[in-house]
């Protein structure tokens, strides 16, 4: 396998880590972190010659000397408010450069049966219950980035919902990077365990403070037990100079239902991997995604939906918009295991290519080993519909504005599926601001 061997900078980081892992951490964790460090160092950064990285070259990340932040960056409540969602009534945890900042967090009164904690704190106070949750869905072998996250693990969020608990207010994890010098890297980890019949909404929200150009390398492990209902928002609104790699692992049991909303607006080089395993009958996943690339942005999303049990359902809709010199990549794989009869999988990737210098690559894949299934996928790359353009113009709307409306509408069809109106409205505004022609759209909430 071809790889980019680690630069001296990262080799040193690994070495320092291996020398310095504190003896106080439990043995199982030390073992996992050592293993991950070895794996990262051996595999190096992925290379475009690997099929999974065919369209994304991570050299810009591999060749920059990112460092962990050494101290808490100054942050103002005002700056955080600007990044938030107006009108959203939510529990909040704020992370800066990968570390929980309790002074900005507000967990109010959590209902009985719900635990929400910082990962560092949970590991310090009572680590053993985390053994089955941390690094068990996300394997080091999955990618060098997942390995690096485990090796350099610092902090994150642990969310545990007991049987039948319903978390009424959403939980907003605001994870921001600061303008550190040298640029920082951070490795947040989010662990979500939704117990039997529980219900919650978790917003994983990545953004940056002014002038940030760091690298955020995240791993999320989400387990939905029988009958659990989880809504997971993965919103990436980094600065255009920032780097982001996120790996999400979702495991669903009987009759559980997970809705994932993944929106990518910012970032210079972004890669997301969403891995879903539907392990028991009745499990259902809905994946909604939107990426907008302009300037010199590169956003690559891979989804893998694994139907490993009969009677499981997936609905996937990803949309991409390419402007400027942007490049958007989508690869969606649906795997139906032998014996996973009555699988119902639908996937669609729709893309708008709006600039002669932009590029869209899409690769929807079906891999099917069972016969009694309903599986379909579709992909399109194209432009705005001419008839719609004419119709709008015949109402007196000029071509430019009509185009803006249609592009916005194209994206909004995905955003409309968001249950939280304040989040949706806020994302719509940010989206409109990034579409030059849709700038005038007054988002009516």
């Amino acid at each position: 396998m071809s790889t980019n061997a680690l630069s001296q900078h990262y080799a040193e980081q690994v070495q320092r880590l291996q020398d310095g892992l504190p003896g106080a951490i439990p043995e199982w964790l030390a073992g996992r972190r050592h293993g991950a460090a070895a794996r990262f160092s051996e595999a190096g950064f992925p290379d475009p010659r690997q099929e999974e990285w065919k369209y994304t070259n991570v050299r810009p990340i591999a060749t920059k000397p990112f460092m962990a932040a050494v101290s808490d960056a100054p942050v103002s409540e005002e700056a955080l408010r600007a990044m938030g969602f107006e009108g959203l009534d939510a529990y909040r945890m704020v992370f800066v450069d990968g570390r929980l900042r309790t002074e900005f967090s507000d967990l109010g009164e959590l209902p009985a049966g719900v635990t929400v904690q910082g990962l560092a704190e949970a590991l310090a106070s009572d680590p053993d219950p985390l053994e089955p949750l941390l690094g068990t869905l996300a394997h080091d072998r999955f990618s060098s980035f997942a390995a690096a996250n485990m090796a350099f693990l610092t902090d994150g969020a642990v969310i545990r919902l007991g049987k039948g608990v319903r978390l009424e207010r959403p939980l907003h994890l605001l994870i921001v990077g600061s303008a550190g010098s040298p640029a920082t890297w951070s490795h947040p980890r989010v662990l979500i365990q939704a117990g039997e019949g529980s219900e919650a909404t978790v917003i994983e929200h990545y953004a940056d403070l002014e002038g940030a150009s760091g690298f955020t390398n995240t791993v999320t492990e989400l387990r939905a037990e029988a009958g659990a209902q989880l809504r997971h928002y993965l919103l990436q609104d980094h600065a255009d100079s920032a780097y982001h790699v996120g790996s999400v692992f979702i495991q669903q049991r009987r009759d559980s239902r997970v809705t994932s909303h993944n929106v990518n607006l910012g970032g210079r080089l972004v890669r997301h991997d969403l891995n879903v395993d539907l392990t028991e009958p009745g499990a259902e996943i809905e994946l909604n995604g939107l990426f907008l690339v302009g300037g010199r942005q590169h956003v690559d999303t891979h989804t893998r939906v694994h139907h490993s049990s009969p009677h499981t359902t997936s609905r996937e809709q990803y949309r991409g918009i390419g402007q400027g010199h942007g490049r958007g990549v989508f690869k969606g794989r649906v795997l139906v295991e032998r014996g996973a009869q009555k699988t119902d999988a639908q996937q669609h990737s729709a893309n708008l290519l709006l600039s002669p210098n932009a590029e869209i690559d899409t690769k929807p894949e079906l891999e099917i080993y069972a016969d009694d299934v309903k599986c379909a996928h579709g992909a399109t790359v194209g432009q705005l519909d001419e008839t719609s353009m004419y119709y709008l113009r015949s109402r007196g709307i000029d071509a430019e504005a009509a185009r803006g409306m249609l592009v916005f509408a194209f994206a909004d069809e995905v955003l409309e599926r968001m249950e939280l109106a304040p989040v949706r409205t806020s994302i719509e505004r940010r989206l409109a601001a990034r579409l030059p022609e849709a700038g005038a759209i007054d988002v009516i909430g």
């Binding site: 002669p356 869209i360 891999e367």
Partner: protein, 482 residues
């Protein structure tokens, strides 16, 4: 339910109709591959020096290459030194000058295959070039074609009689180092067909080549080159069969098509190489590179394939659409039963303006077969107004087979429109019941549904082939009811 599945078990067993072998005098080079073998092949064919050099260059390149591993197929490592790279029914020096000189056993073989070589044959209107193991044994209707200025002959003849055309076009679509199997072919290919349609000529009849592997432990490496000059038109058919052998045999062919301004080439294949037995023993490894270049404006290349045979199929008939307004088409039915593995599809590379391509792929999987569609649609920056429409449908018969779809779509032009759709389904019990309730047998019901599923592709085949393809499908899937 249990009796039903027993029926299935029983019915899935099918027999390969073309599994006989022919016992005739053959000249076979000993197994092994090195520069001397290549020199020997070239010498046997009395080739001009440019051909030998081209082969040697390809061979040297091949030595530096790695066998591809990305396809969704699995097979034991091939020992390229255990393969014989040349087998001919007679010594090349006294090759048949006319049909009367052809070994009667050979003629009989072709009769058994349903391909009469006699020009009086009932298949009037189809000119046939028959390739037996590594060499072309006869080409029919030469005179009639000659009147129209069409050159249709074996590759070896073309090298002798039209070296300037061969030298001008050989390897310009599929370069000798294009991929592992293409490089191997370039080094050792022994024969194949050559077609040249002059400017403005509409080829007066369908051209056809039948490939037959007979010898044991030989590889077959033929090469086809078709050139359609400005404003010309040709329809070409290709059929293949092989005897039933326990051991796997390698077939690594290369086909190059060139269409100049306003020219049209229609290339149809019915591939029925021996697929191996139920347990996956024996069968042909069909590793083929087929590519056409629409070099001229308004040119068109259309591939139609019915892939029913072979233990492993690895082929992606492709179109490079260079000329403005050129059109590429790919219509495919791929059937896999028992242990067959298929990884097939196409590439449509849009370079010129207003280029259009259509891909219709129908995959049928039964038994324990795996059937993958793999396709690339690439729209380059200059391909203003390019259009592609792709539809890939899979039909599963039985719960132990696999159907996979791997489309790659890469778009760099904002005026292009690319659309891909894929579905996977099985033959519904309700469909079968409905037909049975109307008095149709289960087998016929399956055939009806499968034929309906493949209709769009069969419609693209020339008449004689469409009938053959339907019959072939029925045999291939005999009773494989899911």
């Amino acid at each position: 339910m249990s009796t039903h599945s027993q029926d299935v078990e029983q019915l899935v067993k099918r027999e390969y109709k073309y599994g006989f072998s022919t016992d005739i005098d053959q000249e076979i080079l000993p197994p092994g591959l090195n520069e001397d073998v290549i020199r020997a092949i070239s010498a046997k064919k009395h080739e001009p020096e440019f051909m030998l050099n081209w082969r040697l260059e390809a061979y040297r390149h091949w030595l530096t290459m790695k066998e591809p591993s990305w396809a969704h197929v699995h097979y034991p490592k091939i020992d390229y030194q255990a393969v014989s790279y040349y087998a001919a029914p007679k010594s090349d020096d006294d090759a048949p000058k006319s049909l009367d000189e052809v070994d009667p056993k050979l003629l009989e073989t072709y009769e058994k295959l349903g391909i009469p070589l006699h020009e009086r044959a009932r298949l009037a209107g189809v000119a046939v070039d028959a390739v037996f193991d590594s060499v072309s044994v006869t080409t029919t209707f030469k005179e009639k074609l000659g009147e129209a200025g069409v050159i249709f002959c074996s590759f070896s003849e073309a090298v002798h009689n039209h070296p300037e055309l061969v030298q001008k076009y050989l390897g310009t679509v599929v370069p000798s180092g294009d991929n592992y199997f293409a490089a191997l072919n370039a080094a050792v290919f022994s024969d194949g067909s050559f077609v040249y349609i002059p400017k403005g000529v509409r080829c007066p009849m369908e051209l056809s080549t039948y490939f037959r592997i007979n010898a044991m432990d030989t590889g077959q490496f033929e090469r086809t080159l078709i050139i359609a000059e400005e404003g010309s038109h040709v329809s070409y058919l290709e059929g293949c069969t092989a005897p039933q052998r326990d051991r796997n045999q390698l077939h690594a062919a290369v086909v190059e098509l060139i269409a100049l301004d306003d020219a049209e080439i229609k290339y149809s294949t019915v591939q029925n190489w021996y697929p191996g037995d139920e347990e996956g023993k024996g069968g042909i490894y069909n590793f083929v590179t087929k590519r056409g270049e629409c070099r001229g404006r308004n040119s068109k290349i259309s591939w139609t394939q019915v892939e029913a045979g072979s233990a492993i199929t690895w082929k992606y008939p492709s179109c490079v659409l260079l000329g403005d307004n050129s059109v590429g088409e790919f219509y495919s039915v791929a059937v896999g039963n028992n242990m067959q593995q298929i990884d097939s599809g196409t590439k449509m590379i849009h370079v010129g303006k207003n280029t259009r391509s259509t891909i219709i792929s129908k995959g049928i999987s039964a038994g324990r077969a795996n059937n993958a569609y793999r396709g690339l649609v690439k729209i380059l920056g200059g391909a203003e107004g390019a259009r592609n429409y792709t539809q890939c449908d899979s039909l599963l018969l039985g719960d132990r087979c696999g159907a996979h779809t791997y489309p790659y779509i890469e778009v760099k032009n904002p005026s292009a429109q690319v659309e891909h759709e894929a579905t996977t389904s099985k033959i519904g019990d309700d469909q079968i019941f409905y037909l049975k309730q109307r008095g149709i047998s289960e087998e016929d019901a399956v055939n009806m549904i499968v034929n309906g599923f493949c209709k769009e592709v069969f419609g693209e085949l020339p008449m004689e082939f469409a009938v053959e393809a339907q019959a072939l499908l029925a045999v291939s899937l005999e009773g494989a009811v899911g």
